[in-house]
């Protein structure tokens, strides 16, 4: 009897997903000119001003930027977990295999989440519910979406914990989040994201709260799983080191703009945007011991009062008069790259 109910329930969720007009030839994920605003007491904060990128299966995209640059908002918009209001998506599209997610109703969107796209948050302790066992939380997610029985879901939870290399998974499945260490909690988050075998995983600062030795474990696990399951991975981080280690291509964000897009080798070798260049120069390096670090002067602008023209212009050493009036479009840079700087050639050749 249980078998039939599973079938029917599973059927509905999968049917809804199957009936969407998927286009197998379209890129896995295509974000085009996405714009998000927040309505706050201080006025309208333009959290994202036209971010575009694509992601293919098996590819890792890094979104790099400092706090407040809009990288987490981008992730939340893709997942469909933005708080609306105060947030408002004012333009653009997010296409998953050709289907614009922004046009779907909330119920369909919910089916897409976890089945197609999953997210891993930074702070695993607050993302897990302290009063339920880890196994229960893993099983619940699986049960809700797949319609499996409790026993099946529990078995699945154990499998998932094994998949993320948690020792003694059979016993650990009955433990509470506080009984896990930080690294293990983050593994549980990864297990949760993997539960329904999504096509895309978004990892929002997955290792920021972890120690370096544990960070190395978790990043390796994430990279291995991505390879074995051929998923698309979006890695959101501020750490230039983590990005250099695992991603294929990078989008650099500054004050809500995607200022540079390139593959990872190109960007580290020869940045084409002054912000990327300045960021790379501000990292302490061995040969700079005893010298001053090349800090970027000033602060990022508040999103409610973006300067006219280029947002980075007040802190930019390449800035000229034109930058204060004219917002730079994304220029094409040789090597299939993009840079939002009027003077990218100057940056590129310096």
């Amino acid at each position: 009897m249980t078998e039939t109910t599973i079938e029917s329930k599973r059927g509905t969720e999968n049917e809804v997903l199957a009936n969407l007009p998927w286009d197998a030839n379209a890129p896995l994920l295509e974000v085009d000119n996405l714009q998000v605003e927040f309505h706050t007491r201080d006025g309208v904060a333009k959290a994202i001003n036209g971010v575009s990128f694509t992601l293919d299966a098996g590819e890792t995209l890094g979104i790099l930027g400092e706090s407040g640059c809009g990288k987490s908002v981008t992730a939340q918009a893709i997942m469909g977990i933005l708080d609306i209001p105060p947030a408002k998506i004012t333009g653009g599209s997010i296409k998953l295999n050709g289907v614009d997610l922004l046009q779907l109703d909330e119920k369909t969107r919910r089916h897409v989440r976890a089945n197609k796209i999953a997210i891993i948050f930074q702070d695993a302790l607050s993302a897990l519910n302290p009063v339920f066992t880890v196994g229960w939380q893993l099983a619940e997610l699986y049960r809700k979406h797949s319609g499996a029985s409790r026993a099946q879901a529990k078995a699945k939870a154990v499998d998932l914990l094994k998949l993320v290399r948690i020792p003694a998974a059979e016993q650990r499945v009955n433990a509470f989040p506080h009984q896990f260490s930080g690294g293990m909690r983050q593994r549980v988050m990864i297990a949760m994201a993997l539960a329904l075998e999504p096509d895309i995983i978004i990892a929002d600062e997955p290792t920021t709260a972890l120690d370096v030795t544990v960070q190395a474990q978790v990043m390796q696990l994430l990279a291995d799983l991505q390879k074995s399951q051929n998923m698309g991975l979006i890695l959101i981080t501020h750490d230039m080191g983590v990005v250099a280690d695992v991603v294929d291509k990078i989008t650099v964000m500054y004050a809500g703009d995607a200022v540079e897009r390139a593959d990872v080798y190109q960007i580290y070798e020869r940045p084409a945007h002054p912000y990327t260049k300045a960021l790379l120069e501000s990292i302490p390096r061995v040969d700079m011991k005893g010298q001053e670090l090349a800090a970027i002067k000033g602060l990022p602008p508040p999103l409610t009062q973006l300067p006219p023209g280029c947002s980075f212009q007040p802190r930019c050493r390449f800035a000229k008069d034109r930058c204060t009036t004219e917002d730079p479009p994304l220029y094409d840079v040789p090597g299939n790259r993009k840079s939002a700087c009027h003077y990218w050639e100057e940056v590129f050749n310096s």
């Binding site: 930080g182 030795t213 960070q215 990043m219 990872v264 070798e269 990292i283 390096r285 011991k289 602060l299």
Partner: protein, 351 residues
């Protein structure tokens, strides 16, 4: 294994007058208690368990290690914010662990702290002027009452803040600026030593570099000595003259910056250094990466012998029975607490 020196102390013996802070075998155990009315001690968390080092005048000593290794507790011990269970801490030759009351206050004039979180370490209801000037209320002899306002303005100027913002509140400043306020407060009493506990880890990369530069400028300007506690190994390398690596309450390796980063001999140091992601994609796959298994054991119940042995790939029987001392070894030109200390280059590309 023969050891050239049994002394559990320093790399190079230097003149005693040069040493501004001397820490010997300092321990801090926190009791674990059970019961509400009748508290019974059932165990101890050995947060810091026998750490020794010297800090020289004008020097920066970096302390690195993962969370729970005791680096913050060590900082608090130095400040006199925690009372050491055993051991000695001498500032300018004066023993500080037994001080109380006025003596303790007087000692603290010489050692100040910059804390990690610039959001919670500043009182939101005090103006910047009151925050930076508060040390003068505790130590009125430093600046006469009339000159205090001006002294605070000067301090704000020194740390790169606008002195006209003296009446503003902390929430009106960004994270980097708040950290500067914290630094101004630490400088107010013209201390000899500043303990910096993760001072830049809450800041964004672009702002972090500004604050690191400020620390270096102030060190030259005021002849400060820093104990720089951080987990970011590249920042520590940039700012430190010498570096100590801690694991589970113990100092496992100490040496100058080149020795620790270029010629690490303790397996933990090697694993730590190799785990740091390097911002250079061309090194991908060409680095000697050591990924440790498992987590740090509980400091309430540390492993016998060497504390790192549960995660160490070199561990043998002797590691379970004999605790390795932090000392010079045949195979190491700086003190290393490993029976099998051996130089391994982990930060450069291998082929």
């Amino acid at each position: 294994m023969s050891t050239p020196s049994t002394q559990q102390t320093e790399t190079e013996p230097s003149s005693a007058s040069d040493v501004i802070l001397s820490v010997r075998d300092v321990k801090k155990y926190f009791p674990l208690t059970q019961g509400i009315v009748f508290k019974k001690t059932i165990g101890q968390v050995k947060a810091v368990d026998g750490v020794s080092f010297d800090l020289h005048k004008g020097e920066t000593l970096g302390i690195v290690g993962e969370s729970g290794c005791g680096k913050t507790t060590l900082g608090r011990l130095l400040m006199g914010l925690e009372r050491a269970t055993a051991g000695s801490i001498k500032i300018n030759g004066q023993e500080t662990t037994a001080l109380e009351g006025a003596g303790l206050r007087k000692m603290r004039r010489n050692i100040q702290v910059v804390l990690q979180d610039p959001y919670s370490s500043l009182d939101p209801r005090m103006t910047v002027g009151d925050i930076v000037g508060e040390p003068f209320d505790v130590h009125p002899e430093v600046v006469p009452k009339k000159g205090r306002r001006q002294a605070v303005r000067d301090l704000l100027d020194v740390v790169g803040l606008n002195p006209d913002h003296i009446n503003r509140y902390p929430h009106q400043f960004s994270g980097g600026q708040r950290q500067r306020i914290g630094i101004a407060r630490a400088l107010a009493l013209r201390p000899d030593i500043i303990v910096c506990d993760e001072p830049v880890s809450a800041l964004d990369v672009s702002v972090q570099a500004q604050v690191v530069n400020l620390f270096e400028r102030l060190q030259d300007e005021f002849a400060l000595s820093y104990v720089f506690i951080a987990h970011d190994l590249s920042v520590v390398r940039h700012i430190s003259d010498r570096v100590g690596v801690m694991y589970l309450g113990k100092m496992v390796e100490i040496g100058d910056e080149m020795q620790i980063y270029e010629r690490p001999t303790h397996p933990y140091t090697q694993a730590l250094l190799s785990a740091v992601p390097v911002p250079d994609p061309t090194l991908r796959g060409h680095r000697d990466q050591i990924v440790l298994e498992g987590d740090v054991p509980s400091p309430a119940n540390p492993p016998s012998g060497c504390r790192f042995r549960t995660r160490c790939w070199k561990a043998q029987d002797i590691c379970t029975t004999d605790e390795p001392l932090l000392q010079l070894r045949d195979t190491s030109d700086h003190p290393s607490a490993c029976h099998f200390a051996k130089v391994r280059d982990v930060i450069h590309a291998t082929d």
